[in-house]
Symmetry: C2
């Protein structure tokens, strides 16, 4: 296990700070204080700028999702199991790195060009591949005939509260939560009796 570089520490603290206050309300002086530095200027020995930190966080998380869906596409063929694996991926990412996924979800819009366009392109690509799996499931009769765009966004949006839950309450076991989210999204709230 290699030691964490100071840069990594700064980036992680930045993710937490951006998550707590939002990117614009987060100051470099507070970030310095959180990593034990007296001066904001000291940060610039480790990162290039405030926005460079945001970029690292956003693209690092984008990579996790891109890698995840690539693995799922090549190792699983049944659309139902693919969607289950995607749901699992989102829960996994959200609970493994609680703060940076918040930044990924909410603070990407403070990226400036050309990073903003690049980020949106990555997201769009991910969504298209997700939607393609839904489409395939509908065609094969595995899924209901629901508008794929609606299904895509409803599922993605539904998975966004996890990091919040994991951060605050976390009263029940993760495996139970995972199972119930799967059940709700795949089979719905209504009982079938």
């Amino acid at each position: 296990m290699t030691a964490k570089t100071k840069k990594q520490i700064v980036i992680e603290a930045a993710a937490k700070l951006f998550s707590d206050k939002g990117y614009s309300a987060a100051s470099m002086r507070e970030l310095a204080g959180r990593v034990g530095l007296e001066q904001a200027s000291s940060l610039y020995n480790h990162i290039k700028s405030k926005e460079a930190a945001l970029q690292e966080i956003c693209f690092e998380n984008a990579q996790k999702f891109t890698d995840g869906i690539t693995t799922i596409e090549s190792n699983i063929s049944d659309p139902g199991e693919q969607i289950r694996a995607l749901i699992n991926l989102h829960i996994q990412v959200a609970t493994n790195d609680i703060t940076s996924v918040t930044v990924f979800n909410d603070e990407w819009r403070h990226l400036s060009e050309p990073q903003l366009s690049e980020f949106l392109a990555l997201r769009k690509d991910y969504e298209e591949r997700f939607k393609e799996i839904i489409n395939k499931g509908i065609k094969t009769g595995t899924f209901k005939n629901i508008n794929p765009t609606v299904a895509l966004h409803t599922i993605l949006s539904a998975l966004k509260w996890i990091h919040y839950w994991y951060k605050t309450g976390r009263d029940s076991d993760l495996e139970i939560v995972k199972k119930d989210i799967m059940l709700l999204l795949m089979s719905g709230l209504s009982s079938n009796d």
Copy 2:
């Protein structure tokens, strides 16, 4: 139809601006420009402060949800129909006032005390009442035996993308979207063949 007061115009423009840039990144000078004023100082003839505008937006929307669930509680008794009505309420609010619901969802954390606590109490109250309906449905066998907290947050979170969709693409009919969201949340993605 009474004319819109300048204060209302300012508040609505503030909602749009907060939605576009986030509360912290939104400046009073840009807000002034958006309502045709050359000076930010002119805004203070209509609103008390930047945060006062945020407060109005947040609590006005909280009121809509509180009023909505109160009506549903007293006019509908079947839990399944109550949840359907709640989903409908969220879609209705999100599409009727696209921008202010964004602020309600994402920017409330920039409220300062005591408004922050007051807002969180309102939200908590709403969530408890929503959860109570889920609980009732589980008890009567209308709903699956899913952890009510998980079901609550998954459904609430799932409904948050609507305003985004309504703002940007809006390629398909609202009634179709509404129907498909209902179907997905109540019966799930999997087909039952």
